[in-house]
Amino acid sequence: MNLSGVLIPFVPLLGFIINGLGFPKVSKRWAAWIGCGSVFISFLIASVLFIQSLTGSFESTTISLFDWIVAGNINVGFSFFIDHLTLIMLMIVTGVGFLIHVYSVGYMHDDEGFGKFFSYMNLFIFFMLVLVMGANFVMMFIGWEGVGLCSYLLIGFWWKNREYSAAANKAFIMNRIGDLGFILGIFLMFITFGSSDFDKVFAGSSAFATNDHVMVAITLLLFIGAIGKSAQIPLYTWLPDAMAGPTPVSALIHAATMVTAGVYMVARSNILYSIAPISLEVVTVVGLATAVLSALIAITQSDIKKVLAYSTVSQLGYMFVAEGSSAYSSGIFHLMTHAFFKALLFLGAGSVIHALHHEQNLRKMGGLRKLLPVTFITMFAATLAISGFPPFAGFFSKDEILVATYEKSPAVFWILAATSVLTAAYMFRLLFLTFYGEYRGGHHQHEHIHESPRVMTVPLMILAVLSTLGGFLGLPALFGDTHWLSHYLEPVFAANTRLTEHSESSLLEIMIVVLTVIVIAVIWWWCNEKYVKKKVAPAIVEDQLPLWYKLSYNKFYVDEIYDRVIIKPLEWMGDFFYGKFEANVIDGAVNGLGRMTVWLSGQLRKIQTGNIGFYVLSMVIGIVLLLIYGLSKMNLF
């Protein structure tokens, strides 16, 4: 047990070393076997542990490898911690990670840096596993930094143009701001508890009163870290830009695993957060604002990966709202289902992009349903899942979050519910633009489009099954009170989860089911009208449309009102938030900080005039000031 647990992260590390050192001498074939195989072995070990935990012969354990940092009273062990929450995360990371690895074999097949790609991916898995398995916050931070580094390497993997490097830079800077919060939080933890070990910190926190300012500070600082890593307001804009990397990277890092690290961290520190309700409210507000804002932006995007990226940001907001409402297991539940369907969406998008020879613009897609049948069906399942259509996975997890928020604050519930509608809207828009209607790219290309190889479609299918059935791990009360996941996670969240167990919410759940079905039906109808019948492609201005089309104006009178009253303002808001707010306010603030530093640097360096006389004079003035300061500090002046 002990030994096998430790092996989980180190097998991918071995894969990284072999592929990294061997590149480019190891053949692509071997690189693929090593890359996928190492993750698969980790998956197998994790599965064994997981099954043990189901049969009850498992207890959460800390495996200490060695004392790592010993300084004064501070002792940080290089140790791993495995409990039910870790196991769930392990299953997601290794399972989904493995599928994405397999998929990458097909996707990256023609790339020169094939072996290098796999070595980075394995390194990423290693750090991600360290992140979720660390037994203290320092270990978590090591993993945290490591995944950041890999993300950085992989975003910039194709450095064909400057924009990619710029995206990598942006991701880097924004994550550093987050890390700053995290590291200060850890420092504060050391001061307060003298340790960063989970058990000691959580045990020590019970001595604090509710909303004790130290606890609020620690939790808020940690949350700043989560904001950076999980792309929440105001540090979210790096994620859409990070889509410059290869699509499997987007699926693995920017959808399924790394970006959820913040969610994991908050869930892991749930004991701290429960002592600081103020922080929980901050978490809720930030999560909610992010969910709404990015959903609004997603509606108008024309790049398929950008839509998915904003959608990811929005879904992460959901998870934080769940955690802010103390429904940690719901947050983790959504994290899991999201990993399934969002990975699937990205991989599906990747399959489309692959088939279209790296065309990502929705405007140039359409009608791919027949040409890419497997991709279409799996993406369809994922779209239903993310839109929350029962009984797909997303339905259950979203439903749970909605119920949890309703108990806490109806206002949050309604905003979140409206966001769900938006989610369905932009996802179906994406689906229709891609697969329905007619192909809008060149004819020449049209003939070359064919379904991706099996090595890519099989992972899609597996993920589709998971997206469809994954929700049954957490059946809500309505369907017979067998919420397996929340029981499974009970040891971790026991004191905090406020899950509705019984009937009073049944009505609410029925309402949600019915409403969801209706809303999705309406959206389906509307998309069909707009994108199939009217053949509206995004961002084509109305007066470019042919005359006969305008004559049919009256026929779709209702539709137009709908368009004017609801869609247009929404689109306007989307444009506004995307174009003005994001570009000016958020990017402006972040870039401004950077530019100010550079400017300051340019000014400050001017004091190095090169003239000895000036230097000496400045030194003497410095001496005078220092003497005055020092003497007055010693009360002698």
């Binding site: 420092f187 530093t597 640097s601 003035i621 003497l627 002698l636």
Partner: protein
């Protein structure tokens, strides 16, 4: 003591190596001698002997820092040997000066009398003034030498004035006596003035703001290998002496001046890191970075508690490893691409993957990214400051080290993410192996810092 004698003898041997024309023996003899001297140091471990009327004491602190300085010197001499043929005009003399300088360092880190401190500082400084001007026909080298000399001599004046006032206040140059007298009489105006002026003299030597002016110019103008020597051995010895002086003499009255050092540390870190951003020359950038590192190390001097010695030692080792290898890489790049801006590192990852690896490791370590020695260097320093309640200083330190990531990563990004048409870089045999060794040491210390941290 044996250590000091053997170092001096070694210097004399190297000097005669130049005069009596057995230059080819200079490098091997120096390397063997330095290793031997280090072994003598190890042999004297825990003996804690003091010498000749308590002028110096070879305690573990002194031995540890002497060995760090000697190791730095050994690396510098090796690199010097790689890049300069032994038939060059001042080959043996330069090696001799480095050996004399490290003898000065040994005096500086083991003194128990202010006179010894003064002599040690002067031996080191005079050697460095000359070494900076080693390229006699290079105007930048000339300028760097003169700047260093004039400002160094000027600051020595303040140091001496401080010593004199302290002598006036306490009646002795011996650290034990000074501490004893200050303990009886407390701080009066003269003692405080002496303390502050001594502090100013040492702040100059470690290049803290506002006495940093000489650093970028001197580092840039001096021959790159000499710069590496100054930035590592010189700085480590200066810090060791600084900390030793304050631990031995002024520790009980630290409440009075802690804030002064803390303020200087904070300004130094911020200014060093911010000014580094704008630099196009990597060598000059490293000079500013060394200013910033002086700020971080000053934090340990400020806290002046039980863990300060260990944390400065670890920081010194981490910093020495990373700095020497980064200066060496700059040297390689300068020789191959004729310049050392970030663009000259383009494509290094493709052409010379190992050099790029060493570059990445040393830059990561300098910026304090986890899993490198630099991280723990910062960690120890910061954590001891935090435990003493200096949270604001640590906050400034953390913020400024985040700023530093920006410029440390520039050459690394260039090396890995940009293309080049330039050919594979060539370098003297052995350079690459040593660079890899240094990087592995950096990583090793980043994973197992316990080796060094708890030693003194």
């Amino acid at each position: 003591m044996n250590l000091l004698i053997s170092l001096t003898a070694l210097g004399v041997v190297a000097m005669f190596g130049g005069i009596l024309k057995f230059r080819s023996m200079v490098m091997p003899l120096s390397v063997l001698g330095l290793i031997g001297a280090s072994l003598l140091g190890v042999y004297a471990w825990n003996t804690n002997q003091s010498f000749l009327n308590d002028m110096m004491r070879m305690d573990n602190y002194a031995i540890a820092f002497s060995i760090v300085c000697m190791a730095g010197t050994l690396l510098t001499i090796l690199f010097f040997h790689f890049f300069h043929s032994e038939n060059e005009i001042h080959y043996a003399e330069a090696v001799a000066l480095m050996l004399f300088a490290v003898a000065g360092c040994a005096v500086m880190v083991s003194f128990t009398n202010l006179l010894m401190l003064f002599l040690g500082i002067e031996i080191l400084s005079l050697s460095l003034y000359v070494l900076a001007g080693l390229r006699k026909k290079d105007l930048l080298s000339n300028e760097s030498s003169l700047k260093y000399f004039l400002m160094g001599a000027f600051s020595t004046g303040f140091l001496l004035f401080g010593i004199a006032l302290l002598y006036g206040a306490t009646g002795s140059f011996a650290t034990t006596q000074i501490a004893y007298q200050l303990g009886i009489a407390g701080m009066n105006g003269m003692a405080a003035m002496g303390l502050l002026l001594l502090m100013i003299g040492l702040l100059f030597k470690v290049a803290a703001v506002p006495f940093q002016f000489w650093t970028p110019d001197v580092y840039q103008g001096a021959p790159t290998i000499v710069t590496a020597f100054m930035a590592t051995v010189g700085k480590v010895a200066a810090f060791a002496a600084f900390l030793r002086l304050f631990q031995l003499c002024f520790a009980p009255s630290k409440e009075g001046y802690q804030l002064v050092i803390g303020t200087v540390a904070a300004i130094t870190m911020l200014a060093g890191n911010i000014m580094a951003i704008y630099q196009s020359s990597t060598k000059r950038m490293l000079a500013y970075s060394s200013i910033a590192h002086a700020g971080y190390m000053l934090i340990a001097v400020m806290t002046l508690n039980a863990s300060s010695n260990g944390s400065i030692l670890f920081y010194s080792v981490a910093y020495t490893l990373a700095s020497i290898s980064s200066f060496l890489i700059v040297m390689v790049v300068q020789q191959n691409r004729n310049n050392d801006t970030a663009d000259d590192f383009n494509g290094l990852g493709k052409t010379n993957p190992w050099i790029a690896f060493a570059l990445a490791v040393s830059m990561l370590s300098l910026s304090g990214i986890p899993a490198t020695a630099g991280f723990f260097g910062k960690f120890y320093v910061f954590s001891s400051a935090v435990s003493d309640g200096f949270i604001w200083v640590v906050a400034v330190a953390v913020i400024s080290s985040f700023i530093s990531i920006y410029y440390y990563f520039r050459p690394v990004i260039a090396a890995y993410s940009k293309q080049t048409h330039d050919p594979v870089m060539t370098m003297p045999a052995g350079t690459q192996a040593l660079l890899i060794l240094l990087s592995l040491l950096t990583i090793l210390l980043g994973i197992l810092p316990g080796f060094i941290a708890g030693i003194i």
